[in-house]
C-alpha cells in the first residue's frame, strides 16, 4: 500500500508528541516530512529557563536527537520556514524554495511573543523569550553584566528574570498589573511571590506601564537600548530589555492559506481546521474558543491528532483544568483551576507568615474549584486530582487544607500519600501521565530505573518537578527492588551503600570500625582503603564525643597532617585566617624555609602559603617553629574545612559594602577543625564584584548593602558550577550560624568524598534551605550539634604532634645504614 504523505509545519513539543504517538499506533502509515523554522531538533521548551540560569545545557533538554528522525524515517528540514500552503495543489513551500506535497498536513507554528509597540521596541537589545536563540542572546548579553529590564511578571518573565539574575545581571521586572502572575495566582500568593523574587535581589515594579524604550545617542554609533521609561516618568537604566508580556498564536501562515482564523487557527474537537486534511496543533490552535500555552493540554491535542491520523475518528480534544508551577529554583508555587471569588463559592485559607506558607482552596457545592499554594506545594498533585475528578470533599472538609496526610488521619508519610492516590491520579502534569500508567509500564516492561520510566512513559521527563512523586510510585511498585540512591555499594567489601551504612551506624549504635564490619557483615577482615576512611568519618560525625579517631584508617595526609607529594616528601600549609598574615608570620615561615632547606614555597589558590618538599622526619620540628610564631595547621590535607578566602571589603576597598575579611576570619575561627565528607572551601566577597570568587565555592558569601547573600554548591575543579543562592541574612552572627548549620547538615547527610555541590544536587537546594535557613528550630539544633562536635575537634594537630603524639610516625623503626657502616 502506498504510504500517505504527512507534512508537519513546526517542530515543537506538540508535533513531536503527536508523531511519537502516531508511530506507536500506526508505525508505517505515513512518510513524514517536518519543516522547522528553527535550525535544530525538537527540544523541551519548558526547560529553557534552567538553560538560561545555567542549571542545564541544551543537550540535556533535547527530546528527539537526530537519531530519532533517522530511526523513524522522518525527513527534517532544519531552518526551513514554510512561507506558503497551496491547498489546491496540496503542497507547502519553504523560504528556501523546497516544495513538499502532502496528503495530510499539521500546522504547528506555535506562538509569537507579544511585542508591546512602544517607541523604541525595535532597538538593538530588545529581546523576547521564546526559543533557544533568545536564550543564547540573553546569555550573551548577560556576559556584559549591567541591568536587564524584563517587561512582564508572568511565568515566563519571572523565569527569565531569575535566570538573568543567576547569570550575574541586575534585574528589574516591570509588571502592568498590581500583583505578579495574576492569571495563575490570587493577590496574596502574588504578594508572597513578589517578596521571594525581591529577596533574590530582583527589583519588581508593579502597576508599571512602559511608555518608551530609550536608545543610546545615534551619533555614538548604532543605537541600542539604554533605559526604559514608564508613564509616570520613572526611568530605569537597561542594557537589555526582555519582552515577556505574553504570547499570541502564530496563525499568519494558516490565514494566508484561507483557513478559518479567530484568535488562533480554529479547530473542531477532532483537531481539524476548516480544511479536513489540515490539522492545527499546539499554541497556534484555538479549540472551544480557547487558546493554550501550557504543555499539558497541548500534549492532549497531540494525542488526538495522532489518533485521528491513525484512523481513530472518534478521538476528540476537550480542554480540562491545568496546573501551573513556576520553574525557579527555590520558589514553590502551585495553582490550578478557578480561584476567583464569587458569592456562591467558599474558600479555605491557611497562612503561616513565619514560614511564608499560603494555601487557598476554592470550593463550590462541596467540590474543589481552584487551588493556590505558595511555599509548601507538596499536596499539589492530590488537590489537583480532587479538582479534576470533581470529587465530593464534604467528608474531608475539616482537614482538607492540611493535605492528604490528614485526610482520614493517615500518618504523615509521603509514601502513604502516594500509595493512597487512585490509579487515575495525575502524577506528571506536563505529560498527563497518571499513576496507573506508570505502574503498568513498570510491571509490563520490567522498568527499574527512573530513566527507563521517563523513556517509556514520559513521566517527569519535561519540567521534572514531579520526579519525587514518580520515584515514590516506583518504590511502591518495585518495593525493595527499587533503590535509587544506593545502587552503588560503598566498596567491594560490602553490599551496603553509604546511606544505609550511616543509618545502621545510628540504628545499631555502632561505635567502632570493627563493630561496623562485624554487625554489617563486611566480607573482608578489615575493610579496604575505600571503606575504612569513610567509616572512620561516619563514626566520627555520628559519635563526636564517644568515637576515638582511628589513625590507621586515615589517608596518609590526614594521618600526618601534611600533604604527601610524588616523591614521598610532604607539603606544609599553615592556617592564615581569612587569608590574613603578618610580618611575624612571614618571617617565621622564611626562617623555617631556610632552616629546613625547603625547596619550594608557593601561594595557593585559597590565599595560603605552601611549603613543598618537607621531609617527613622534619615535620614535627617544622610545625614546632610555626607553632611558636602562633600558626596552626591549615588543614590543607583535610576532608574538612580548608580555607575561607576573602577580599579586603569595607576596611579598604572603595566598593566594599561589609567587612568581608572580618566575616571570613569569624567563619574560619568557627569552622576550623571540623571533619566533613569531603573538603570544604569558603569565600567571602565584600560586594557583588565578587573578588574573592565566592560563587564557585562550596559555601560563598556575597556582601550587599542590606547584609549577606549566602550561596552554596559551587565547584571549580573537575566540574565547574556556579553557586545557587540559599538565602539572605542581615548580620554576621546570623551568617555564621546559617553556615554552621549548612556544614552540619552536610556532615550528617553527605556521603564520604561527596562534595557539597553533589550533595546539594542529590538532596535538593530546597531541602537544605528548609533545614538550615527557614526552619529556625531545625537550624538551632544543627548549630548545637555542630558546636558539640567542635568541642573535641578544635585542637591543633600540629601542636599535639610536636608534643609527642604519634611520634612513631615520624621516626624510622631502625636505621641500619649506620649499623652496617660501623661494621
Amino acid at each position: 500500500m502506498q504510504k500517505q504523505r504527512l507534512v508537519v509545519v513546526g517542530n515543537g513539543m506538540a508535533p513531536g508528541r503527536a508523531l511519537e504517538r502516531l508511530f506507536e499506533a500506526a508505525p508505517d502509515a505515513y512518510d513524514v516530512t517536518i519543516f522547522n523554522a528553527e535550525p535544530r531538533v525538537n527540544y523541551d521548551r519548558i526547560m529553557l529557563s534552567p538553560v538560561l540560569s545555567g542549571e542545564k545545557t541544551f543537550e540535556e533538554i533535547v527530546i528527539h536527537g537526530d537519531g530519532w528522525y533517522i530511526d523513524h524515517g522522518v525527513t527534517l528540514y532544519k531552518g526551513h520556514k514554510i512561507i506558503a500552503i497551496d491547498r489546491a495543489a496540496r503542497t507547502v513551500t519553504s523560504e528556501h524554495g523546497v516544495v513538499a506535497p502532502y496528503d495530510k498536513l499539521i500546522i504547528a507554528t506555535g506562538s509569537v511573543p507579544i511585542i508591546i509597540p512602544v517607541p523604541g521596541h525595535k532597538l538593538a537589545g530588545v529581546l523576547t523569550y521564546r526559543d533557544l536563540d533568545d536564550v543564547d542572546a540573553m546569555l550573551l548579553a548577560a556576559k556584559g553584566r549591567g541591568r536587564a529590564v524584563v517587561i512582564g511578571g508572568g511565568l515566563l518573565g519571572l523565569e527569565a528574570a531569575a535566570g538573568l539574575k543567576q547569570q550575574g545581571m541586575d534585574v528589574t521586572v516591570l509588571h502592568l498589573m498590581p500583583t505578579l502572575m495574576e492569571r495563575q495566582l490570587d493577590p496574596n500568593a502574588g504578594y508572597l511571590l513578589q517578596k521571594a523574587v525581591q529577596a533574590r535581589g530582583i527589583d519588581v515594579i508593579t502597576r508599571a506601564n512602559t511608555k518608551e524604550i530609550v536608545g543610546t545617542d545615534p551619533a555614538l554609533g548604532p543605537p541600542r537600548v539604554k533605559a526604559v521609561r514608564l508613564d509616570d516618568g520613572t526611568e530605569i537604566e537597561a542594557s537589555i530589555v526582555v519582552m515577556a508580556a505574553g504570547i499570541r498564536p502564530n496563525a499568519a501562515l494558516a490565514k494566508d492559506a484561507g483557513l478559518t482564523i479567530n484568535r488562533g487557527i480554529v479547530v473542531t474537537p477532532d483537531m481539524r481546521t476548516s480544511d479536513p486534511d489540515i490539522f492545527a496543533l499546539g499554541e497556534c490552535a484555538e479549540a472551544s474558543n480557547q487558546v493554550f500555552g501550557l504543555v499539558a493540554p497541548l500534549y492532549e491535542m497531540a494525542n488526538v491528532v495522532a489518533a485521528q491520523l491513525a484512523g481513530t475518528s472518534d478521538a476528540a480534544f476537550s480542554p480540562s483544568a491545568t496546573a501551573t508551577k513556576l520553574k525557579v529554583t527555590g520558589i514553590n508555587l502551585f495553582s490550578a483551576g478557578d480561584f476567583a471569588e464569587a458569592p456562591d463559592r467558599e474558600e479555605i485559607v491557611l497562612r503561616d507568615a513565619a514560614r511564608n506558607v499560603y494555601k487557598r482552596l476554592v470550593l463550590k457545592d462541596d467540590k474543589l474549584l481552584g487551588v493556590v499554594m505558595y511555599g509548601d506545594t507538596s499536596d499539589g498533585a492530590w488537590f489537583f486530582d480532587l479538582l479534576k475528578r470533581q470529587a465530593d470533599v464534604s467528608e474531608l472538609r475539616e482537614t482538607l487544607i492540611f493535605g492528604q496526610s490528614y485526610a482520614g488521619g493517615a500518618p504523615l508519610d509521603p509514601m502513604a500519600a502516594v500509595a493512597a492516590l487512585p490509579d487515575e491520579a495525575e502524577i506528571c502534569g506536563c505529560n498527563g501521565i497518571c499513576k496507573g500508567r506508570i505502574v503498568s509500564a513498570i510491571k509490563d516492561k520490567g522498568l527499574s530505573s527512573l530513566d527507563d520510566v521517563r523513556a517509556h512513559t514520559k513521566a517527569s521527563a519535561s519540567c521534572g518537578s514531579c520526579t519525587g512523586l514518580v520515584e515514590q510510585v516506583m518504590k511502591l511498585t518495585l518495593g525493595d527492588a527499587y533503590n535509587p540512591a544506593a545502587v552503588q555499594p560503598m566498596c567491594g567489601c560490602t553490599g551496603h551503600g553509604h546511606d544505609d551504612v550511616r543509618r545502621l551506624i545510628v540504628a545499631k549504635e555502632l561505635k567502632s570500625i570493627p563493630a561496623v564490619l562485624q554487625e554489617l557483615e563486611w566480607s573482608t577482615s578489615n575493610g579496604c582503603a575505600k571503606c575504612r576512611p569513610a567509616l572512620n568519618y561516619y563514626l566520627l560525625a555520628t559519635w563526636p564525643l564517644d568515637y576515638r579517631d582511628d589513625s590507621q584508617s586515615r589517608f596518609i595526609n590526614e594521618r600526618v597532617h601534611a600533604n604527601i607529594q610524588k616523591d614521598g616528601t610532604f607539603s606544609v600549609v599553615p592556617r592564615m585566617w581569612g587569608g590574613l598574615t603578618t610580618a611575624n608570620e612571614l618571617r617565621a615561615i622564611a626562617d623555617v624555609v631556610d632552616k629546613f632547606r625547603i625547596p619550594t614555597v608557593k601561594v595557593t589558590g585559597g590565599q595560603r602559603i605552601d611549603m613543598l618538599g618537607v621531609k617527613k622526619d622534619d615535620l614535627p620540628a617544622v610545625w614546632a617553629d610555626l607553632n611558636k610564631a602562633g600558626m596552626v595547621s591549615g588543614a590543607a590535607y583535610a576532608k574538612g574545612l580548608r580555607t575561607v578566602k576573602t577580599c579586603v571589603g569595607s576596611d579598604w576597598c572603595r566598593f566594599g559594602t561589609q567587612d568581608s575579611t572580618g566575616l571570613g576570619v569569624k567563619l574560619e575561627k568557627h569552622l576550623w577543625g571540623s571533619w566533613t565528607p569531603a573538603k570544604v572551601k569558603l569565600a567571602v566577597s565584600g560586594c557583588p564584584r565578587n573578588c574573592a570568587e565566592a560563587t564557585c565555592k562550596d559555601v560563598g558569601i556575597i556582601c550587599v548593602d542590606s547584609g549577606y547573600e549566602i550561596h552554596i554548591g559551587g565547584a571549580a575543579g573537575l566540574d565547574i558550577k556556579g553557586t545557587e543562592v540559599l538565602g539572605h541574612s542581615t548580620t554576621q552572627e546570623e551568617t555564621v550560624e546559617i553556615v554552621a548549620a549548612i556544614v552540619q547538615l552536610y556532615r550528617e547527610q553527605g556521603r564520604y568524598l561527596e562534595r557539597i555541590y553533589k550533595w546539594m544536587k542529590r538532596v535538593g537546594l530546597d531541602s537544605i534551605r528548609a533545614q538550615a535557613l527557614d526552619d529556625t528550630e531545625k537550624r538551632a539544633a544543627l548549630v548545637a550539634r555542630f558546636a558539640l562536635s567542635q568541642q573535641s575537634a578544635q585542637v591543633d594537630p600540629w601542636r599535639e604532634r610536636t608534643e609527642g603524639k604519634e611520634a612513631h610516625e615520624f621516626r624510622p623503626l631502625a636505621d641500619l645504614t649506620r649499623l652496617e657502616a660501623a661494621e
Binding site: C528, G568, H808, L813, L816
Partner: protein
C-alpha cells in the same frame, strides 16, 4: 661474629608498629617498610610501589595488603605483587617475630654491587 647468626638483625619490637600500620627501616639499599596486620603478622617490603615508586609505608593496610597512597594500587604484603588488573612486583624481605622482637634477614640488605 658468626655469619649464620648475624643474618637476623633485631630492628625493634612488634609493639613499635601499630596494628594495620607500618614503620620504616633505613638500609644502605634504601628504605624497607615493615607492615603489621590485624592478626599480628609482620611483612617487610621495599618501600616502593612498582607503579611510580610511591612510599607503601604511608598507605592504608587492610587484610594482607597495602594500598599505595599515591595512586591506590593495592600490593600484596605476602608476595609484593600488585593486585587486580595492575601488574608489577615489589621486592619482599624475610622478617620473623621472636619473643615480641622483630628480626630482619640482613643478607639481602647489603649495599648492592651497583653502588
Amino acid at each position: 661474629m658468626n655469619m649464620q647468626h648475624s643474618n637476623w638483625i633485631d630492628v625493634g619490637a612488634l609493639e613499635d608498629i601499630p596494628k594495620l600500620g607500618a614503620r620504616l627501616v633505613k638500609t644502605p639499599r634504601g628504605c624497607l617498610a615493615l607492615f603489621r596486620t590485624d592478626a599480628d603478622e609482620v611483612f617487610a617490603l621495599d618501600d616502593k610501589c612498582p607503579h611510580k615508586g610511591g612510599p607503601l609505608s604511608q598507605g592504608i593496610v587492610h587484610g594482607k595488603s597495602v594500598t599505595c597512597p599515591l595512586h591506590n594500587w593495592v600490593i600484596s604484603l605476602e608476595t609484593g605483587a600488585a593486585c587486580g588488573a595492575d601488574e608489577g612486583t615489589t621486592a619482599t624481605h624475610k622478617v620473623r617475630i621472636e619473643a615480641g622482637r622483630l628480626l630482619l634477614d640482613a643478607t639481602s640488605l647489603a649495599p648492592s654491587s651497583a653502588r
